[in-house]
């Protein structure tokens, strides 16, 4: 048996640095060397806002930012935790009053490395100032004041993204059924995918919002969603009965009343506020916090789009949306769900005056084996419309029929279609009408 040498252990002097006794985190009444400032943000959130901008000029700078001595030990030396300040200088020297604000002051945006990096990473035009980019990162739940949060920009961005999405989908796949169209809209421009876009941009969330936080971090709170109008639609008067009596919510009424993804407009946007406030103490990592985080990230992306539009105009925002949202890959084939595909295809062929579709066995292998494969084709007259393979004749026929229907629905005039907003560009070629389908086979 091979022997192994014992590892040498040594304690070096620098490992003791900063290992002196520190009070437990919750104990704020201890002798007082370390006192983390409890943010008075909640108390000051509703304080008068106009005085905010001149505060930083009048207040004096202090050496310590977040760690300050309490009143009794104010004259004593600041606590030295052994940090080499020459090597790790304090990040930013802030007046203590900034902690009173719910979100960072606009002028601090110019000094934030994170914000500058985000601006450069997204290749945003120089016309878009850092202050606006900083404002896109403040959610309505962090700062309720509409002049300082991103809700207005997010609403502009929301309408722009959804408009460009919808016109692209309608021109690219003119035969998509409305339910699939809604699913595609959600998959491109919904909360979850915009959350992923924000994460891919490298946007990090602050642990808690406040005036002292780096303005390059996304700021939102989990315990209350805040008031932000970032959807468009009507609140149905019969909303209470829809759930109670299982009332039908047809596609036409969804187009009329509901939001851009065909979802019901509710008061809380799907976030259970009551449950959120009850489970405040465990406000990390449940379904509600996930929804709130997704919404905050999505609203940030929408606000950036809105900011690009506000500062740089229509063409810039169109190319920005195309680059960041439309360019994402979506497998349209997987969005379909059929109920009775054979009947649907028969109705389609009857409507379009094709011959009745007939399923024919093209080839098979291993009929008597454990893993047979049948290939079935769908013929209308002598024209083949589609084919599918399956392990039984019934499965193969269903698959062939579903593939045929998908081939109908996923008809596309061409890959790079012109959309109506392309006509707004100077010197655009004359408009050629796009293909408009007559409608769905089976109306829902």
């Amino acid at each position: 048996m091979p022997t192994t040498a014992r590892p040498r252990t040594a304690v070096l002097a620098f490992q003791f640095l900063g290992c002196a006794y520190q009070p437990p985190a919750g104990d704020q009444t201890w002798a007082g060397q370390l006192h983390v400032v409890a943010r008075p943000a909640a108390a000051l959130r509703h304080a008068a806002r106009p005085a905010r901008l001149c505060l930083s000029a009048t207040s004096t700078l202090r050496n310590t930012r977040q760690i300050s001595t309490n009143g009794a030990a104010a004259a004593a030396e600041p606590y030295d935790d052994g940090t080499d300040h020459a090597r790790f200088p304090p990040l930013e020297q802030l007046p203590p009053s900034v902690a009173g604000y719910p979100s960072p002051l606009p002028e601090r945006a110019l000094k934030s490395a994170k914000l500058a990096a985000l601006h450069a990473r997204l290749s945003l035009p120089a016309k878009l100032p850092l202050q606006t980019l900083a404002r896109t990162l403040v959610d309505a739940s962090a700062d309720e004041h509409p002049n300082f949060n991103n809700s207005n920009l997010a609403f502009v961005g929301h309408t722009l993204i959804n408009y460009h999405m919808a016109e692209y989908l309608m021109c690219r796949f003119p035969r998509l059924p409305m339910t699939v169209m809604y699913a595609a809209m959600e998959a491109y421009a919904g909360k979850k995918s915009l959350f992923n876009v924000a994460r891919s941009w490298g946007v990090d969330a602050a642990a808690a919002p406040g005036g002292e936080v780096d303005p390059g971090l996304l700021q939102f709170v989990f315990d209350k969603p805040g008031v932000a109008m970032v959807r468009f639609g009507y609140k149905r008067t019969e909303e209470a009965y829809l759930e109670k009596y299982k009332w039908r919510r047809g596609i036409s009424s969804r187009i009329m009343y509901d939001d851009d993804f065909g979802d019901l407009i509710t008061k809380s946007e799907g976030i259970d506020t009551e449950a959120g406030s009850e489970s405040d103490h465990m406000s990390y990592g449940n379904i509600n916090t996930e929804a709130i985080a997704e919404r905050a990230h999505a609203n940030h992306v929408r606000a950036v789009v809105g900011a690009v539009y506000v500062h740089c105009g229509r063409e810039a925002v169109q190319s920005f949306i195309k680059a960041h949202i439309l360019s994402r890959t979506l497998n349209f084939e997987s969005l379909f769900k059929f109920k009775n595909p054979i009947r649907e295809l028969a109705l389609l062929c009857a409507r379009e005056e094709f011959e009745h579709p007939v399923a024919r066995l093209l080839s098979e292998t291993g009929r008597a084996s454990r893993t047979p494969v049948y290939v079935v084709g769908i013929y209308s007259g002598s024209d083949k419309l589609g084919e599918g393979a399956g392990s039984s004749l019934v499965t193969a026929r269903y698959k062939a029929v579903m593939n045929t229907l998908k081939a109908w629905y996923l008809y596309s005039p061409k890959e790079h279609v012109r959309v109506p907003s392309d006509m707004l560009i100077e010197g655009a070629k004359p408009w050629e009408p796009v293909y408009v389908d007559i409608g769905e086979i089976i109306a829902n």
């Binding site: 084939e333 997987s334 379909f336 769900k337 059929f338 109920k339 595909p341 054979i342 094709f354 009745h356 007939v358 399923a359 024919r360 066995l361 093209l362 080839s363 098979e364 292998t365 291993g366 009929r367 008597a368 084996s369 290939v375 079935v376 084709g377 013929y379 209308s380 002598s382 024209d383 083949k384 419309l385 589609g386 084919e387 599918g388 393979a389 004749l393 499965t395 026929r397 269903y398 698959k399 579903m402 593939n403 045929t404 998908k406 081939a407 109908w408 996923l410 008809y411 596309s412 005039p413 293909y435 389908d437």
Partner: protein, 240 residues
């Protein structure tokens, strides 16, 4: 029967002994069904191990196993050999993003172009965008076996017929079942179910009986039924 053909090489002598009338019938049935269902069955039969490995010499075996090249690679003259397009894509499931010609709208430019007609005379290029297998399309589709019967709409029943059907179903739903009425009036069961209703007591009795049957299912059978339903759902969602 087909499993017997795909035996291991070590059992070849047994196969030779078994090549008596009984297994010969097995062979013929296989080939006939193969000819019906699989257009490529002629070449398949030659390359099955059972048929091909029984040549007397190595040279004959090698020749029997050799597969003819694709038609794209065969050409008569040297000039043609030098200047042509080889179109021999690997076999794969057709994509639903290739719209069949029949599904193209009137305004689509592809309809005017009609590439299938353009390449119809070409020996090397087989333009068929909805097929994985060119040989399957070469066969006449009317010869391929049909799955599922379709009678077509007949519209032969009058209002009086439907009234009569309703009366029969109402008066004696036990004798005049949906199947029986469909057979009697020569219409589909769906039509019978659409146009008639059984008395409530009969329906209740029927469903009670069904519930009693379901209650007798053990855990295995119940789970199997549940899974079957879920598999169908998955199939309709395109996950299978």
């Amino acid at each position: 029967m087909e499993a017997r053909l795909l035996r291991r090489p070590a059992a070849s002598c047994c196969f030779r002994l078994l090549s008596t009338p009984s297994s010969a019938t097995a062979l013929t049935t296989t080939t006939t069904t193969g000819r019906l269902f699989s257009p490529a069955s002629v070449s398949l039969q030659n390359t099955t191990p059972g048929a091909a490995r029984h040549k007397s010499t190595a040279n004959r075996t090698k020749r029997a196993l050799s597969v003819a090249p694709h038609t794209s690679f065969i050409s008569e003259s040297a000039g043609e050999q030098a200047n042509r397009i080889i179109f021999n894509p690997p076999s794969s499931a057709p994509s639903v993003f290739n719209t069949p010609f029949k599904f193209l709208p009137k305004s689509d430019p592809r309809r005017a172009l009609n590439p299938a007609a353009l390449f119809a005379k070409s020996k090397t290029i087989k333009y068929n965008n909805t097929s994985s297998d060119a040989s399957a399309d070469a066969a006449d589709p009317s010869e391929l076996p049909v799955i599922g019967k379709y009678v077509g709409k007949q519209h032969h029943l009058t209002l009086e017929d439907v009234e009569e059907m309703r009366r029969l179903r109402r008066e004696d739903p036990v004798t005049n079942t949906v199947h029986a009425l469909a057979d009697k009036f020569k219409c589909s069961r769906n039509f019978v179910m659409m146009s008639t209703t059984a008395p409530r007591e009969h329906t209740e009795r029927h469903f009670n009986r069904l519930d009693a049957v379901k209650a007798r299912w053990g855990p295995g059978r119940a789970a199997a039924r549940e899974e079957r339903k879920r598999r169908l759902d998955m199939l309709f969602r395109g996950e299978l």
